[in-house]
């Protein structure tokens, strides 16, 4: 009886560990895409501003909105992470 209980407890712990690992892995994966996207976006924006400094204001505004929209993907990944892990 005690062996069965110990096995069940171990299985539950293993399940919790796997769930935590999966949630963290999912969050990490969700942050990769926006990281690449923001890097590309800002790189192109910097190039545009260096070539046409007079339009730097407009480029910055558009760049900021692009960053914020791209970042929303990472935030969605984070929310999924906290809901899977803690809710």
């Amino acid at each position: 009886m005690s062996t069965t209980l110990a096995l069940l407890q171990t299985a539950a712990e293993a399940k919790n560990t796997a769930a935590a690992g999966s949630a963290g892995f999912a969050y990490g994966l969700a942050a990769i895409g926006p990281g690449i996207g923001i890097g590309y976006l800002v790189g192109q924006a910097v190039q545009a501003m260096a070539r046409q400094p007079e339009s730097a204001g407009q480029v910055q505004t558009t760049m900021f909105l692009g960053i914020a929209f791209t970042e929303a993907l990472a935030l969605i990944g984070f929310v999924v992470f906290i809901l899977l892990k803690f809710a």
Binding site: A31, P34, G35, I38, G39, V42, G43, V46, Q47, M49, A50, R51, P53, A56, G57, Q58, Q60, T61, T62, M63, F64, L65, I67, A68, F69, E71, A72, A74, L75, I76, F78, V79, I82, L83, F86, A87
Partner: protein, 166 residues
């Protein structure tokens, strides 16, 4: 033109070019924050109706976190753009990491608090972030596509004409 190291120096060098003057990004974020404050009571009321006082507190916390995140993002861009465009690129990348870290830390710190409803908090983070952005984008895209409709554009044109004619 070359400098003493033999490197070509011109306006297209992102290490030397920088943005001067009032930051348009900060103006956009202050606009977003004003709208966030306007919708805060409605959001808190909706949170209260769905999840009680925990929902209301969670919506308030999530909204505050998102507005702080926007402000921090704009502040980093404003400061680094005045250094150089290359610094702006670095600031955007590390700023992304820092802001994700701030949000993660904030949520992990309060996750076990009695006044937090994690579902309401998560939904608030996504909806307010995207909602405020789309709301602002409507205004920004309009003023970029039709500069003449931008508030004060007509006045600026008139003043220019007056100064030229006089």
């Amino acid at each position: 033109m070359s400098n003493t190291f033999g490197v070509d120096v011109n306006e297209a060098n992102p290490l030397l070019s920088r943005f001067e003057g009032e930051s348009p990004v900060m103006q956009v974020v202050l606009d977003i924050m004003k709208r966030g404050v306007v919708i805060a009571p409605v959001g808190i009321l909706i949170g209260y109706l769905f999840a009680g006082s925990a929902g209301a507190w969670s919506v308030a916390f999530g909204l505050g976190m998102i507005l702080f995140n926007f402000f921090l993002s704009a502040w980093i861009i404003q400061v680094t753009a005045r250094i150089s465009f290359a610094a702006l690129a670095g600031g955007a990348m590390f700023g992304f990491l820092i802001r994700l870290g701030v949000i993660t830390t904030a949520v992990l710190l309060v996750r076990n608090a009695g006044w937090v409803d994690l579902v309401a908090l998560g939904v608030t983070i996504i909806i307010t972030h995207l909602g405020l952005l789309f709301w602002e984008l409507q205004y920004i895209s309009g003023s970029l596509a039709y500069p003449g409709l931008k508030p004060g554009a007509g006045l600026a044109d008139n003043s220019t004409k007056e100064s030229v004619s006089s």
